[in-house]
């Protein structure tokens, strides 16, 4: 069973995404800010990280910077999950987000569960 870490400060969203993912046979853990997200990622070595952008303490971009600099976590795929549409290149074939000058896959909030699941599947190579 693939393990997914959700890092998002919106507890309602986390709750709903957790339900959805569990129903689709994923093991889910979560945390509510970038700092804890970074620590949990090292601790748990998930197969995928779903990362919000705007969070207290440490925002998603910062957390990913740390994750990519760390040998343990640098190969874990990251899927950004954001309400900030302005980050996304409009009309782009794939939803992507530009973080620290690098493009990462992204899903916009409000989310469509099917779109989220499809993105997860493709990132996990399923």
């Amino acid at each position: 069973m693939k393990k997914i870490l959700i890092v998002d400060d919106d507890v309602d969203i986390v709750d709903l995404v957790e339900n959805r993912l569990k129903k689709n046979n994923y093991e889910v853990t979560f945390t509510n800010d970038g700092d804890n997200g970074y620590r949990k990622a090292i601790e748990q070595k998930p197969d995928l990280i779903i990362m919000d952008v705007m969070m207290p303490n440490m925002h998603g971009g910062e957390a990913v910077k740390l994750l990519k600099a760390n040998d343990i976590t640098k190969n874990i795929p990251v899927l950004f999950f954001t309400a900030m549409n302005s980050y996304l290149p409009k009309g782009a074939e794939l939803d992507q987000i530009n973080v620290n000058g690098q493009l990462y896959p992204a899903i916009t909030k409000p989310f469509e569960p099917n779109k989220l699941l499809a993105a997860i599947k493709s990132l996990l190579g399923e």
Partner: protein
């Protein structure tokens, strides 16, 4: 006031004429004496010299009268101007003008007052305009923010209800299912409303952007049909598709064309109680044509001209809408350099047709057509 004006004018003119007379006499003496000297010394022997002398003398007199008539004209203009702008002038300036020594001075004061007044008015208007632009921007930002802020909680409600109806937390009974489905339908409606609000705000600012790609119109139609087929079947309507065997290639914004088709087919479904809905696509010589025809209640000739206008909604028996769907559809098609039109007969049916230009210069992948839409409203 008026007679006083006249008096000032006459007095000034008399004064003016006397100054001019003095000036003219001085001018005559100072120009005629050297001329005669010149004549007696060099030119008296020739006929041409005599003629030149006469011309010069005539010139001096013509000069005098020209100056005089110009001055009279100028004073007339000054008077007219002053009368016209007096209501806009401050008492101080009027006083200044009235105290002018002669009409030329009055003219000068009048023009300078007029220029000052004009400059003030332009500045005031510019400030007002800036204020209005700022307010308009505020309104747009507000609409944008509110719409985005609405979406997130709405999607949380939607997903929660979906998870319940999918039985994630245990079986639910038929009545629960029915009312939760009703909630979901209305959430969809609310989402559509938010999208429409955003679209209209973008259209009004000319900021509706197109992301054009190559596509087969038949695929787009099939996608829309599969989305709406349930709704159409539920109403007991027949759905006919008339699509060519070969691809109908267009370069367009897929999502936007889907939006137009959903609107047209949705309307057809909404206003048709029995019969059929027919969707066709075909390639003409220089355009692609798509039609949506229904056998519904039709549109009265009274409503027909206003169909693509903002907030115009025709009376429908049970259905409600925003009256903005067709406005958006028209803008989308026109942004694609196409046309949309409608033919309808009451109680017989309605036929919407839109055309798109043929795929001439195909952009590769995700070309963006940033053209601003000038056509407002």
């Amino acid at each position: 006031m008026h007679s006083q004006d006249k008096k000032v004018f006459i007095l000034a003119s008399i004064e003016e004429v006397s100054i001019l007379r003095k000036f003219a006499i001085l001018f005559l003496i100072s120009s005629i004496i050297p001329m005669f000297l010149l004549y007696y010394i060099y030119l008296y022997k020739t006929r041409l010299g005599f003629m030149a002398m006469i011309m010069m003398v005539l010139g001096v007199f013509v000069g005098y009268f020209s100056i005089r008539s110009l001055l009279i004209k100028a004073t007339d203009i000054a008077r007219e101007n002053r009368r016209a702008i007096e209501p806009f002038l401050s008492p101080q300036i009027i006083k200044e003008i009235s105290q002018g020594e002669n009409e030329l001075v009055v003219l000068k004061h009048t023009f300078s007052a007029l220029t000052k007044q004009l400059a003030t008015t332009i500045t005031e208007l510019k400030n007002k305009n800036d204020e209005l632009l700022a307010l308009d921007q505020l309104k747009d930002d507000f609409v944008n923010n509110v719409s985005h802020e609405f979406r997130l909680p709405l999607s949380i409600i939607q997903e929660s209800i979906r998870q319940i109806t999918e039985g994630m937390f245990g079986q639910i009974n038929e009545a629960q299912q029915k009312y939760l489905n009703m909630s979901l339908r209305n959430i969809d409606r609310l989402k559509t409303l938010i999208d429409i609000m955003l679209d209209i705000s973008k259209i009004e600012k000319g900021k509706l952007e197109l992301f054009k790609k190559n596509m087969d119109l038949r695929d787009v139609i099939k996608e829309v049909v599969s989305d709406l087929s349930q709704k159409i079947e539920k109403k007991g309507l027949k759905l006919k598709l008339e699509l060519p065997a070969q691809p109908v290639e267009i370069v367009a914004d897929r999502d936007k064309i889907i939006q137009v088709l959903i609107n047209l087919v949705g309307n057809a479904c909404k206003f048709t109680q029995q019969g059929s809905i027919e969707i066709s696509a075909r390639e003409n010589e220089d355009s692609i044509e798509c039609t949506v025809t229904d056998s519904g209640i039709g549109i009265s000739s009274k409503d027909l001209p206003h169909l693509f206008s903002k907030f115009h909604q025709i009376a429908a028996p049970q259905e409600k809408g925003t009256g903005l769907g067709l406005v958006i559809a028209k803008h989308i098609i026109e942004l694609h350099h196409g046309q949309i039109y409608v033919e309808s007969q009451e109680k017989i049916g309605t036929k919407f047709t839109f055309t798109l230009p043929k795929n001439t210069a195909a952009p590769n992948g995700k070309a963006v057509d940033n053209e601003k839409n000038i056509n407002r409203g």
